[in-house]
Symmetry: C2
Subunit: 199 residues, 2 copies
């Protein structure tokens, strides 16, 4: 059965970006540190990251992107912050972007722009077939998905840094969610914790 | 050499209590869940917790309280919320309570009331000898200790729950702190992550 898994990286103080993130500024000041694990170690916006994930970090990426995931859902802000991934869907599977302006979708870029989370999840479920749907963020999309009860599994990668400011994953999220621990992976660059959402 | 270790339990969304904590109300609504790991499983304020930590949770407690810790520092609010631990220092080592009213100290209860964190850390360092100082919280005391640069190691036990409200460990903490991963322990009731504070 198709599961909906949401996953994102935060600092120890719960931020998914440093301060002043946005288009051309990536994950904001100090935000690179959140994704050291994705690129195998330190990098900065001054240079493109060149490294690759290794060890436990690679294991997590391979598991998510290698086989289990049949469709991805992301938010428009994340899409813009990522510079539209250079103009092409970076995943090998259908990628649904939640936006208020679906008419902005670029042609032949592999992105499906949809008006709202419900439509994105429905489309992604259908596209995923027997595989899973991965909700990649940003924070607002993950909060919406948790509130709507879509999320079966929640994975948080905690980077070893206190950022002190930025966008907080659980900002203005005032619901209680019971979780059950599923998996744990540790690298020098992140603690990857996965939970089942208890209903 | 004496290290200063700070440690506390939070929900996945970073709260050290549920809403409406305080004297007679413990860790607030739903806050018991934060400490399932301390008592070996579910309990509630309706009954006294009777269980004991097991497995990885016991390992963490034994390590902290068994040998390494030579003195403990806690805040007055935590002292009050805990009902003064029944009127007696629960640790087998000197326990310094940070308060604006040191004259409130009860006699013969094993607590040393001191006026401010600096005095508490200095007293605890001296009392600990070659052992470590443990800063147990609450959140404000840990933030103060981090800001003042006292903390050598930071341990966070993350309980598998999103509480949605309460007192947030990093509330109004606007500094960046670089961390290095040290240790990881996992039980069904918490993910215990320890970091070295990088200076």
């Amino acid at each position: 059965m198709t599961k909906v898994a949401a996953g994102i990286t935060t600092s120890l103080d719960g931020y998914i970006t440093g301060p002043n993130d946005g288009p051309g500024r990536g994950l904001g000041e100090g935000g690179e540190r959140l994704h050291y694990w994705v690129f195998g170690g330190p990098w900065s916006y001054a240079e493109e990251p060149r490294g690759e994930a290794t060890g436990a970090d690679k294991e997590l990426l391979d598991e998510a992107m290698g086989g289990r995931v049949g469709a991805v859902v992301g938010g428009r802000n994340t899409y813009e912050a990522a510079g539209a991934w250079g103009g092409q869907n970076p995943f090998g599977v259908p990628f649904f972007i939640v936006t208020h302006r679906p008419e902005d979708a670029p042609a032949d870029a592999g992105f499906t722009f949809v008006n709202g989370l419900d439509e994105a999840i429905a489309g992604a479920r259908e596209a995923a077939g027997s595989k899973d749907v991965f909700v990649m963020g940003g924070a607002d999309i993950i909060r919406q998905a948790l509130r709507a009860g879509y999320v079966d599994e929640l994975s948080i990668s905690i980077a070893p840094v206190v950022l002190g400011d930025g966008k907080r994953l659980f900002h203005d999220f005032d619901e209680t969610v019971s979780l059950e621990h599923l998996r744990l992976l540790q690298s020098p660059f992140a603690t990857h914790i996965s939970y089942r959402v208890v209903r």
